[in-house]
C-alpha cells in the first residue's frame, strides 16, 4: 500500500500518536519507529521496511526486528528477528549497524542511538 496514502490517513489520527499540551513535538509509539517521532520518514506502520529493537523476552539478549516487505499483509510472518547477544554498548552498536546497513542504510544512526539508550536504561547484570 502506498506509504503516502496511508500516511495522510494516519498522520493526525492514530492509536500510537502522542500529543501533549505545551509539547510542540508529536511522538508516535508504534513498533518499527526508532525515533518515536510522528513523521512519515520514521513511522513504523507506513513504510515497507522498518527496524525495531527491543529486549528479548528473557531479557538476556537484544532482538533486532526487521520488516519483511513482501509479507506486509501477513502480520504473523512479517518480521524477522535477529538477536544480539552482547549487552556491551559498543559491541551492540556495531552489531546493529552491521545488521541494518544492508537492509536500510537510513536507519543505521537511529538504530545505533536506540540500542545505546536501551542498554543504558537496562540495569546491569550483577556478576
Amino acid at each position: 500500500m502506498s506509504s503516502d496514502i496511508v500516511w495522510q490517513t494516519i498522520r493526525n489520527n492514530s492509536a500510537f500518536l502522542k500529543t501533549r499540551r505545551n509539547v510542540p513535538k508529536r511522538f508516535s509509539t508504534e513498533r518499527f519507529n526508532l525515533m518515536a517521532v510522528n513523521s512519515q520518514r520514521y513511522n513504523g506502520l507506513v513504510n515497507k521496511k522498518g527496524v525495531h529493537i527491543q529486549l528479548s523476552k528473557d531479557g538476556k539478549k537484544v532482538d533486532v526486528l526487521t520488516k519483511i516487505a513482501k509479507n506486509e499483509h501477513l502480520p504473523q510472518k512479517s518480521t524477522r528477528t535477529v538477536s544480539i547477544l552482547s549487552k556491551n554498548g559498543r559491541r551492540a552498536r556495531n552489531g546493529v549497524a552491521n545488521l541494518v546497513k544492508t537492509y536500510k542504510k537510513r536507519d543505521i544512526m537511529p538504530a545505533q542511538r536506540f540500542i545505546s539508550q536501551l542498554l543504558r536504561g537496562t540495569p546491569k547484570a550483577k556478576k
Binding site: 502506498s2 506509504s3 490517513t9 492514530s14 506486509e72 502480520p75 512479517s78
Partner: protein, 344 residues
C-alpha cells in the same frame, strides 16, 4: 496498486485451507478518510430521538410587569403576596425559574439525508481500508499475530451456535488479544450518561461479516467488543466506527465471495446495487517514491548537481602549532629555545 492477489481462507483452527479467493475489487477502492468521516457524521445523526424542553416551561406563572414608576426593572413579576416568590421576576431567560433562551423544539432537524452514491463510496472506502494492516493497527487493533489481512475464515464459523466455539476460534486465530484489549478498556463513562443507562464505555474489537443468515450472531454477540454483520447489509457505523478507517474485520468465505457481486469490479457492474460502479482514485499510482524512481521519470530528468561545499574550518594557531609556524616562521625558533631552557 490495482493488483488483486489471492487471499487464503483459514479454517476455524487457523490452519490455511487449500481454497484461495481473488481479492475482491472493493479492496482497491480509494481510501478517503475525509469522506468516510463526513458520511459517518451524517449517518450517525439518523438514530437520534427528538428531545426538547416543555413548551410551557418557565411560562407557567401569571406574572405581569409592574410597569414604570416603581423603581424596579420592567420584567414581569409574580403576583400576590405572603411568600418570597411574590414580586420576584419571572418568565425571562435571565430570570430565575424563567424559560430558557430559545427553548429547544422537537422540530429541530435531527436526521440527515445522505446521497446513496456517497454512502456507497464511504462503505467501499472503509472496506478497502480494513484490508490495509497499517490502518488496522493505527486504529488500535492488536493484529501482530494474525495470519493474514484481510482475514477470511471458512464457512464453518457461520455454523457456530455456542459462544464457547466462538471464543475458541478467536483464541486460535490470535484475535483474542484484540478482545482482551476490549476487556481491559471497560471503564465508567465520564459525565451524566452514567445515570442514563450508559454507565460503561469500552473499546471495539473485531467485526465479523458473514454471508448467509445463520445463528452466528448468537455465538458471537456475548463477546465484548465483537460485532456481527451480514455482507449485504453493511453498516458504516460499524465498519468505520467513529468515522475512523481500519476496523479489524473477519470475513467468512461466503461473505468474501459475495463482495464482487455486491460491489462489482472495474470490468463487471454490481449485481445488487443498481447503477453502482466502484469509485476510482484520482491517481492510479499514488506511490511517490515509485514514481520518481520509475524509468520514464529517471530518463527524463537530468542528474542532480551535488555541489559539495564543505565549510572551511578555521583552527586556532595558539592551539595548533603547525598553523602558528605557517603564519610566523620565527615561532619554531622561539619554541626550540624554550625547550632548551626547560631542559637546563
Amino acid at each position: 496498486m490495482t493488483a488483486r492477489p489471492l487471499v487464503t481462507v483459514y479454517n476455524e483452527k487457523n490452519e490455511a485451507t487449500a481454497s484461495q479467493i481473488k481479492l475482491p475489487a472493493v479492496f482497491r477502492a480509494p481510501i478517503r478518510p475525509d469522506l468516510v468521516s463526513f458520511i459517518h457524521d451524517q449517518i450517525s445523526k439518523n438514530k437520534r430521538q427528538a428531545r426538547a424542553v416543555s413548551t410551557e416551561a418557565g411560562k407557567q406563572s401569571s406574572a405581569e410587569s409592574w410597569g414604570t414608576g416603581r423603581a424596579v426593572a420592567r420584567i414581569p413579576r409574580v403576583r400576590g403576596g405572603g411568600t418570597h416568590r411574590s414580586g420576584q421576576a419571572a418568565c425571562g431567560n435571565m430570570c430565575r425559574g424563567g424559560h430558557m433562551f430559545a427553548p429547544l423544539k422537537v422540530w429541530r432537524r435531527w436526521h440527515r439525508r445522505v446521497n446513496v452514491a456517497q454512502k456507497r463510496y464511504a462503505i467501499t472506502s472503509a472496506i478497502a481500508a480494513s484490508g490495509v494492516p497499517s490502518l488496522v493497527q493505527a486504529r488500535g487493533h492488536v493484529v501482530d499475530n494474525v495470519a493474514e489481512i484481510p482475514f477470511v475464515v471458512s464457512d464453518k464459523v457461520e455454523g457456530f451456535r455456542k459462544t464457547k466455539e466462538a471464543v475458541s476460534f478467536l483464541r486460535r486465530s490470535h484475535l483474542w488479544a484484540d478482545v482482551e484489549k476490549v476487556y481491559n478498556s471497560k471503564r465508567y463513562r465520564a459525565g451524566v450518561g452514567k445515570m442514563r443507562n450508559r454507565r460503561y464505555k469500552q473499546k471495539l474489537g473485531p467485526l465479523i461479516i458473514y454471508g448467509q443468515d445463520s445463528a452466528i450472531a448468537r455465538a458471537f454477540r456475548n463477546i465484548p467488543g465483537v460485532d456481527v454483520l451480514n455482507v449485504e447489509r453493511l453498516n458504516l457505523l460499524k465498519v468505520a466506527p467513529g468515522g475512523h478507517l481500519g476496523r479489524l474485520i473477519i470475513w467468512t468465505e461466503s461473505a468474501f465471495k459475495k463482495l464482487d457481486a455486491i460491489y462489482g469490479t472495474p470490468s463487471t457492474p454490481s449485481e445488487l446495487k443498481k447503477g453502482f460502479v466502484l469509485p476510482t482514485a484520482k491517481m492510479a499510482n499514488p506511490d511517490f517514491s515509485r514514481i520518481i524512481r520509475s524509468e520514464e521519470v529517471v530518463n527524463a530528468v537530468r542528474r542532480a548537481r551535488k555541489v559539495k561545499s564543505t565549510p572551511k574550518v578555521h583552527h586556532n594557531p595558539l592551539k595548533k602549532f603547525k598553523l602558528m609556524a605557517a603564519l610566523n616562521p620565527y615561532a619554531t625558533v622561539l619554541r626550540d629555545a624554550a625547550h632548551k631552557k626547560q631542559k637546563v
